[in-house]
Amino acid sequence: MNKVLFFAHLRDAVGEEFLRLDAAGKSVGELKAELAANYDLPKMDSVMTAVNEEFAQDDEVIQDGDEIAFIPPVSGG
């Protein structure tokens, strides 16, 4: 199983802070596209992905137990 976290406008769109789902074997890009379609997520082309708290590219393959987070453009400071 994988924990998938959402932040900022994505959290509002999904309606949950995180989901638990089985994403092992999928690429980051595949999971992103799937969730974007299922939840009608806006502005996904500017959203980055983190796997286990490090930024990941779309071709990275997700392993069982990985924590995935979708990171919209940041606005701290």
């Binding site: 976290l5 932040f7 900022a8 406008h9 509002d12 502005k43 082309d45 500017s46 980055m48 983190a50 708290e53 490090e54 930024f55 590219q57 987070a69 990171i71 919209p72 453009p73 940041v74 606005s75 701290g76 400071g77």
Partner: protein, 154 residues
């Protein structure tokens, strides 16, 4: 604990104290505060949210980058989360270095990097609505529309 996310108001002096060192000739502090007017629109208050575990890691990464670029520097950063009112302190960055020019440069580098890679978001609340804010970068342009891989991880 030089790099922290705080739900409580930030004590500026405690951040500065973390970078005091005998080899320092300068300590610069950056204090980011909540502005009322942005492009003619009045902000009532802000909500900051963070992916806390990753945000701390990315602040630590910025600290390492600074210590590599500016020898003998020390860095401490605390970023606030939760509800902040106008004039509240959102972030404090303290950098000490042997000479003053480096302390200014390294501190500027830290705040610009925070705006690139640290997973913290702010939601603006106005009289007529609210919105999560996106990229606030004022000095760096990304030709591809987002940071390159090399900019994000070590």
């Amino acid at each position: 604990m030089n790099f922290q996310i705080s739900k409580e108001p930030i004590d500026i002096q405690s951040v500065i104290d973390k970078v005091v060192q005998r080899n320092a000739g300068a300590i610069t502090t950056f204090i980011g505060t909540v502005r009322e007017m942005t492009k003619g629109k009045k902000t009532l208050f802000l909500i900051y949210d963070a992916y806390e575990a990753m945000a701390v890691k990315k602040l630590e990464q910025i600290g390492r980058e600074i210590e590599e670029r500016w020898p003998d520097s020390q860095v401490a950063i605390t970023h606030r989360v939760g509800r902040l009112d106008i004039t509240d302190i959102a972030v404090v960055i303290a950098v000490s270095t042997p000479h003053r020019a480096d302390a200014y440069d390294a501190n500027r580098y830290a705040i610009e990097r925070i705006k690139e890679i640290v997973p913290i978001w702010k939601k603006e609340h106005w009289e007529d609505g609210e919105e999560w804010m996106g990229n606030q970068l004022e000095t760096v342009a990304y030709p591809s529309g987002k940071p390159e891989e090399a900019d994000l991880n070590e």
